[in-house]
C-alpha cells in the first residue's frame, strides 16, 4: 500500500506523522519503506538513526551548446517555450534553471549542435534504520542540491527509486510530501492509494487544508485528515471537514512536552503515550482501509 502524508500548510506535523507512523508499523511487524519527498528541506532522517546503504546522484538532461557544429540558425531559441535559450546571433546561451528538459531544441536543431547532457540536481540516499526490539525501516531520502530550483523531477525519481526497493507485496510505502498545493506536492500524491492530510486547528491551518482538499479532489486521490496539535474545544478543522465531507481519522493532542521532545529529534511514539495512542489509531485505520480494498 502507498500512503502519502501531505499538508497544505508547512509545519503542521507531516514529518512527525510520517516518521512515527513508520516506526509504529515496523514495531507491529510490518515491512515499511519511508520515503522523504520534501526534497527542498528533507527532515525525516533527523529522527531516525540509520546506516547508509546506498547513495545515488540524480541527473536530469539539459542541452549543451556545441559552438563548432552550430550553424547559427537560432531555431533553438525560437522553439523554447521557457526562454531557457537565448541566441545572440553569434552565441547560444542555455539557462539551466529555466529548462524543463523537453528536448525540442536539441532534437529540432538542424545541425545537432545541442546534445542533451547530464545535469546534477540532487541525491537519493537509502538508509537501513534499526529500531529497538529488532524491527527496522528502510528510509529513502531525496535531497535537492541547494540552488537547484526544480524539485519535481527529483521527487518523481525518488518515488521510482523507493518502488524499486519493494521486495514483498505487503510492504507499506509511506511518502513524506513537500508542503503546499502546487506541482511538487501533487507529484508526491498522485501515485498514492491514500493521502493523509495533516492539519492544525488554526485559521491558517483551516485555510490551507481547504486548498489541499481541492487539489486532491482534482487529482482524484482518496484522502483523510489527521488533526495535529489538537486543542480541546477548537473545532476549526472539524467544521471544515464536516462541510467538505472528509473523514477525520486521528487526532494528536497539542502537548508542550511533545513539542520539546520533537525539537530534540525524539521519536514521540516511544516517549509520549498520548501520541502513541493517536498514531496507533491511525495505523489501525490504515489496516482497516487496506482490508476493505480501499473502501471505507
Amino acid at each position: 500500500m502507498k500512503v502519502t502524508i501531505a499538508s497544505g500548510k508547512g509545519g503542521t506535523g507531516k514529518t512527525t506523522v510520517a516518521v512515527n507512523l513508520a516506526v509504529w508499523m515496523a514495531q507491529e511487524g510490518r515491512r515499511v519503506i519511508l520515503t522523504d519527498l520534501d526534497v527542498e528541506e528533507p527532515n525525516s532522517a533527523l529522527f531516525l538513526e540509520g546506516k547508509e546503504t546506498a547513495r545515488r546522484v540524480v541527473y536530469r538532461r539539459i542541452p549543451q551548446w556545441d559552438a563548432a557544429r552550430c550553424e547559427r540558425s537560432g531555431n533553438c531559441a525560437a522553439v523554447c517555450m521557457y526562454n531557457a535559450i537565448a541566441f545572440t546571433g553569434e552565441e547560444v546561451i542555455v539557462f539551466p534553471e529555466l529548462c524543463h528538459g523537453c528536448y525540442a531544441c536539441s532534437d529540432l536543431c538542424p545541425s545537432q549542435a545541442l546534445p542533451m547532457v547530464d545535469d546534477r540536481i540532487g541525491e537519493i540516499v537509502t538508509r537501513q534504520v534499526s529500531l529497538s526490539g529488532g524491527a527496522g525501516i528502510v528510509h529513502v531520502e531525496g535531497r535537492l542540491d541547494v540552488g537547484r530550483e526544480m524539485p519535481t523531477p527529483l521527487i518523481a525519481e525518488t518515488v521510482r527509486h523507493a518502488e524499486r526497493l519493494v521486495r514483498e507485496e505487503d510492504t507499506m510505502l509511506l511518502y513524506d510530501a513537500p508542503p503546499g498545493t502546487s506541482c511538487p506536492m501533487m507529484e508526491a500524491a498522485k501515485g498514492a492509494d491514500l493521502v493523509l492530510l495533516v492539519a492544525e486547528p488554526t485559521r491558517f491551518g483551516r485555510h490551507d487544508l481547504s486548498l489541499a482538499i481541492e487539489t486532491l479532489r482534482m487529482l482524484g486521490r482518496p484522502f483523510a485528515v489527521v488533526v495535529n496539535k489538537d486543542r480541546p474545544g477548537v473545532t476549526l478543522i472539524d467544521e471544515l471537514c464536516a462541510d467538505k465531507e472528509v473523514p477525520v481519522v486521528a487526532r494528536i493532542p497539542h502537548l508542550t512536552e511533545a513539542a520539546r521532545l520533537y525539537a530534540g529529534g525524539a521519536l514521540l511514539v516511544d516517549r509520549v503515550p498520548q501520541v502513541r495512542e493517536a498514531v496507533a489509531s491511525l495505523g489501525h485505520y490504515l489496516q482497516t482501509w487496506e482490508k476493505g480494498g480501499g473502501q471505507r
Partner: protein, 296 residues
C-alpha cells in the same frame, strides 16, 4: 524604497505571524506582498478590502483536436513527459502531465495540436484593515507556475509602492529552497529568517541561508519558540554570529501566536504582551539596519 522579505525554510515557524506583525507596525509606510502563493494566509489576519482582481496567465497546455488527429503517434514519440495517451483511434493530452513545451505541435503532420494559454492564478490588490496596500494571489489548483506568480505579485507590489511613494515593501516568502523562494528573495534589501530551535528548524535554516548567501543580501533572524530547546537555540545563535546574521529577537513558545491567529489578529496587536513589545523591537532593529546601509 527598501524591500524586506520574510522566509523560514521550514514551515510553521511563525513566518506569516511575523510578516503580518511587521505589516501592522509599518502601517501605511509599507506595501505588503504575500508571496507564499501556495498557501497564502496573510489575508486571514489583515482582513483586506478587495480593490482589484486580475487573472494571471502563464504557461501552456497542448490540446489535440480529436477530429483532426489521424492517430499517427508522432506526438507520443517526442513527448518526454508521458503526457499523451491513446484514446480510441486518436490521442489525448493529460493536462496534469503536460509541461506546455510546445514540441508536439511542431511534429504533428496534420496540425491537430494547438497550445492553449493557461490561467495560473489570480492576483488581488487589497487594502488591509491597517491601511496598507496588500498584493496577494491565489495559485490555480494544480498550476506549476508558483515562481512566476511570485514574480508577478512582486512586480505589482512595486508598482503600488512607487505610486504611493512608500518606504518599504514587506514580502511574505514561501517555505523551502526552490524556485518560489528564489523569486521571493531576488533583488530584496534585507532578509528576515524566522526559525525555531528544533533539529528540523535548524537544518532548514542552514539550507535556505545558503540560498540567501548566494544573493549576498543582508539578513537578520528571529528565533521563535526559543525556550523550547535552549541548547539548539544556543546553536542557532552561534550560527547567526558566525554567518554575520543579525539576531533580531527571540520569542518564547507561547500560545499567544495561535490565539492571535484564531482571533484574526497578528501578535503585534496583542496589546500589553511581551511578544508585542519584542515585535516592536524587531521592527526597529530592521529599520536601523536598513538605514545604516544608506550611509556610505
Amino acid at each position: 524604497m527598501k524591500q524586506i522579505v520574510i522566509i523560514s525554510g521550514k514551515g510553521g515557524t511563525g513566518k506569516t505571524s511575523v510578516a503580518a506583525s511587521l505589516a501592522f507596525l509599518a502601517g501605511r509606510r509599507a506595501v505588503v506582498a504575500d508571496c507564499d502563493v501556495d498557501a497564502a494566509d496573510m489575508h486571514l489576519v489583515t482582513a483586506p478590502e478587495l480593490l482589484e482582481k486580475k487573472d494571471f496567465y502563464s504557461g501552456y497546455e497542448a490540446v489535440i483536436d480529436p477530429l483532426a488527429c489521424t492517430g499517427c503517434g508522432a506526438c507520443v514519440e517526442v513527448c518526454h513527459f508521458d503526457a499523451i495517451i491513446p484514446e480510441g483511434e486518436v490521442y489525448r493530452v493529460l493536462p496534469l502531465e503536460c509541461e506546455g513545451c510546445g514540441y508536439c505541435p511542431r511534429v504533428c503532420p496534420v496540425d491537430a495540436i494547438t497550445m492553449r494559454s493557461l490561467k495560473a492564478g489570480e492576483i488581488y490588490v487589497s487594502r488591509t484593515r491597517w491601511g496598507n496596500t496588500l498584493v496577494h494571489a491565489a495559485l490555480g489548483i494544480g498550476s506549476d507556475m508558483s515562481g512566476k506568480l511570485v514574480s508577478e505579485v512582486r512586480r505589482r507590489a512595486r508598482e503600488e509602492a512607487e505610486k504611493e511613494n512608500v518606504q518599504y515593501i514587506l514580502i511574505d516568502g514561501s517555505p523551502g529552497t526552490g524556485c518560489p523562494v528564489t523569486a521571493s528573495i531576488t533583488g530584496t534589501d534585507y532578509v528576515v529568517l524566522v526559525t525555531e530551535p528544533t533539529l528540523s528548524g535548524k537544518h532548514d535554516l542552514e539550507r535556505v541561508y545558503q540560498v540567501v548567501r548566494r544573493f549576498g543580501i543582508a539578513a537578520g533572524c528571529i528565533i521563535n519558540k526559543a525556550d523550547l530547546h535552549p541548547a539548539i537555540t544556543a546553536e542557532l545563535e552561534r550560527f547567526a554570529a558566525r554567518e554575520g546574521i543579525d539576531l533580531l529577537g527571540k520569542f518564547p513558545y507561547d500560545d499567544l501566536f495561535v490565539e492571535a491567529v484564531n482571533e484574526g489578529k497578528c501578535v503585534a496587536e496583542m496589546e500589553g504582551t511581551d511578544v508585542a513589545a519584542a515585535m516592536m523591537e524587531v521592527w526597529n532593529k530592521i529599520q536601523e539596519q536598513l538605514n545604516q546601509d544608506q550611509k556610505p
